[in-house]
């Protein structure tokens, strides 16, 4: 029997950056090893340590049980500690997640907006009328896939 599928975690704010790079490695000059921080782990860390929610509030915000939130949070801290100690590069992407609404990010004015009417397709930024904006759903793909895609591009 196959295991029960993972319940999707709710994300309200995706990160404004895609990762962190270490600098000034005193031991080696080789390229830093990459560690992937899932978006669900990023969100758990944001809610618990930045917004100062307790774990019960954070779990209800992400729509998972409290023990599950604790496990996600523990994993996030482990990965970040590992990256700090071993000088690894962090890339934030992937994870079994969904967004609380259909969010778009405008590249020209930097605003974030949602689509309240699912019947209509958004053609321009409601603020600056620019046409270059991206959908957040691009965050939800698996990390390994995007790495392959980047390699193929090169």
């Amino acid at each position: 029997m196959s295991p029960r599928p993972v319940k999707l975690r709710k994300i309200s704010d995706p990160p404004i950056i895609s990762g962190f790079k270490p600098y000034g490695n005193k031991k080696s000059n080789s390229k830093p090893v990459i560690t992937f921080l899932n978006l669900e782990e990023y969100e758990a860390l944001r809610l618990c340590d930045y917004m100062m929610f307790d774990q019960l509030q954070a779990s209800s915000a992400m729509n998972v049980s409290r023990p599950t939130l604790t496990r996600i949070y523990a994993r996030a801290r482990k990965k970040i500690a590992e990256a700090f100690v071993l000088g690894k590069q962090i890339i934030i992407e992937g994870g079994k997640i969904y967004f609380d609404s259909e969010w778009y990010n405008c590249k020209s004015c930097g605003c974030v907006f949602n689509n309240p009417d699912k019947q209509k397709i958004i053609a321009e930024c409601p603020l600056c009328r620019a046409k270059n904006f991206t959908n957040y759903s691009e965050f939800t793909h698996e990390p390994e896939e995007s790495l392959k895609r980047k390699r193929n591009k090169k």
């Binding site: 004015c109 974030v112 907006f113 309240p116 009417d117 409601p126 603020l127």
Partner: protein, 105 residues
Amino acid sequence: MKVAITSTGNSIDSKLDQRFGRCSHFMIYDTETKGMEFIPNPNKDAQEGAGPASVQLVASRNVEKIISGEFGIKIKSLLDSLKIQMIVLKEPEKNLEDIINMINK
């Protein structure tokens, strides 16, 4: 179409308030008549439930869009069901005039 903008004061050169529920004033802007209306937020110092109360206040003016710096967890689902568009602008230095100019461009 009416747009609500959260404001730190009651004049056109006040800055965009970064909070939605506990902002100082709401500015309702009508894109057709170019009319502006400032409403002081009664929930500014509320202990709890400032977000949903502010949503009610803004929704009673029939706005279609809300521009603010941040929306809390309780508000997002509420505005989604009311079909009001949320626009998150994380630029506290922008004043209301800049934003109106952006809309009218």
